[in-house]
């Protein structure tokens, strides 16, 4: 009992649990309002006794105090609205996640049902085809779960960077070789132009790998019908700049401001039937921001997109 009572008094930790800033947290604002009411009452008393002959001054002081109280109450109402909004976003998030997970799940379920049904004509080629469907969908679900875990860590503010000195050029080489088969299958050539004397960077290799992976994956995926994906790496002042250019479908002007938002998928991607979770770029931006870098892009519809990011050396 005393412990939970003290816990209730620890406003900062309570507010942290909501995941909003102190000035958007109702408990904290109530405390400020309480302190203000007490001190302003005392203040009014002292001013009142000093200027007892001049009721205009006393009235003015009371008026100012009332105005401040009014503003504080408004802030408290706003903070409750903010909390309601956070909770609404969470339910929406769960809704989108379940829908995203359901698609590969249905694929798995139906493919297994078909393979195990009596009517299924057993021939090797067809069986292999359905097994690759199973594999593909399991990978899709795993990727989604991994990305969701990172998103949840980002939102709770517990995504820790395990920084060490990394040979960034080597990291990109490794990622490109990982995408070799996917690129060949998509009729895409990946070209890499690293400048000489690329210095080592102090980053979390696992997380930055994820960013590079997402960007290469997007570049290949959105280059419909084949083309070239070019990657540059160079030192610019005290920054290392990574640049990746595709000849893909591009990002429509009206969608550009939403591109780093969680679950956002551009209308023209949906039209072009490209699969994705809508989380890749959201995660990429958070990781690059956390690493002290910046990420941005230039894009022209039906011509292609270029993504850039900088990391401090």
């Amino acid at each position: 009992m005393p412990k939970s009572f003290l816990g209730n008094l620890n406003i900062v930790s309570q507010c942290r649990r909501y995941g909003v800033s102190l000035w958007q947290c109702p408990q904290f604002l109530f405390l400020i309002m309480g302190l203000f009411i007490i001190s302003s009452s005392a203040g009014t008393y002292f001013i009142g006794t000093r200027f007892i002959d001049d009721p205009v001054i006393v009235a003015m002081v009371v008026l100012v105090i009332t105005a401040i109280l009014f503003i504080l109450s408004f802030a408290i109402t706003q903070s409750f609205e903010k909390l309601a909004e956070v909770s609404r976003l969470k339910s929406e998030f769960i809704g989108v996640v379940t829908h995203q997970l359901r698609s590969p799940l249905t694929n798995l379920k139906w493919a297994v049902e078909l393979i195990s049904s009596d009517d299924f004509v057993k021939d090797k080629e067809k069986e292999e085809e359905y097994y690759s469907v199973l594999k593909e969908n399991i990978t899709r679900m795993m990727e989604l779960v991994e990305e969701l875990l990172i998103v949840s860590k980002i939102e709770q503010g517990v995504l820790v960077l395990h920084r060490k000195e990394v040979d960034f050029k080597g990291l990109i080489d490794e990622m490109i070789s990982r995408f070799k088969f996917f690129a060949v299958a998509s009729n895409v050539f990946i070209k890499f132009y690293p400048k000489d004397n690329i210095p080592k960077v102090f980053i979390d290799p696992q997380q930055v790998k994820l960013v590079v992976e997402n960007l290469i994956d997007n570049a290949i995926r959105y280059t419909k019908g084949g083309g070239v994906v070019e990657i540059w790496l160079e030192k610019k002042g005290n920054l290392l700049q990574f640049k990746i250019k595709d000849q893909g479908v591009g990002i429509p002007e009206e969608d550009k401001k939403y591109i780093f938002q969680k679950f956002f998928r551009s209308e023209n991607i949906l039209k072009n039937q490209v699969r994705g979770t809508g989380l890749g770029l959201f995660v990429a931006k958070k990781i690059i921001d956390n690493s002290g870098g910046t990420i941005w892009f230039k894009s022209e519809l039906n011509k292609g997109t270029t993504f850039y990011f900088n990391l401090p050396i």
Partner: protein, 122 residues
């Protein structure tokens, strides 16, 4: 031979259910987005439409409404087959004239085939 129009953007699901339906003796016409789904509904006059909700180009409910608004296609039974579990969408779909609303993950392939058979009147 009865003809079914199957509008679904997941190519894998298209393939799986199409194979089952063909085994059952139906002719299956496939569409991967709402726009071509609606066009095929008007030109092919299928005996039944299987329709997803979340579709590129034209959403499933709009396709449904257009089918039901056209006197030439309004009598074609439409089964909504989706993963979208929202009471609002279900209500809308039924109000627009859908025969039934099925959640993909909650039915096995034979169960879905049964629903199709009863909707088509077999």
């Amino acid at each position: 031979m009865k003809k079914i129009l199957f509008v679904e953007d997941e190519a894998v699901l298209q393939k799986t259910l199409t194979e089952i339906l063909k085994n059952e003796g139906y002719k299956v016409v496939n569409a991967l987005d709402g726009e071509s789904g609606l066009r095929l509904a008007k030109s092919q006059k299928p005996d039944l439409v299987l329709l997803d909700i979340v579709l590129p180009r034209l959403q499933g409910l709009e396709v449904l409404k257009a089918i039901k608004d056209d006197p030439e296609t309004k009598d074609i039974p439409v089964i909504i087959l989706t993963n979208l579990e929202s009471s609002q969408e279900i209500e809308k779909a039924l109000a627009f004239g859908a025969t039934t609303y099925l959640l993909k993950t909650q039915y096995t392939l034979p169960e879905i085939t049964e629903k199709i058979k009863s909707a088509i009147g077999e």
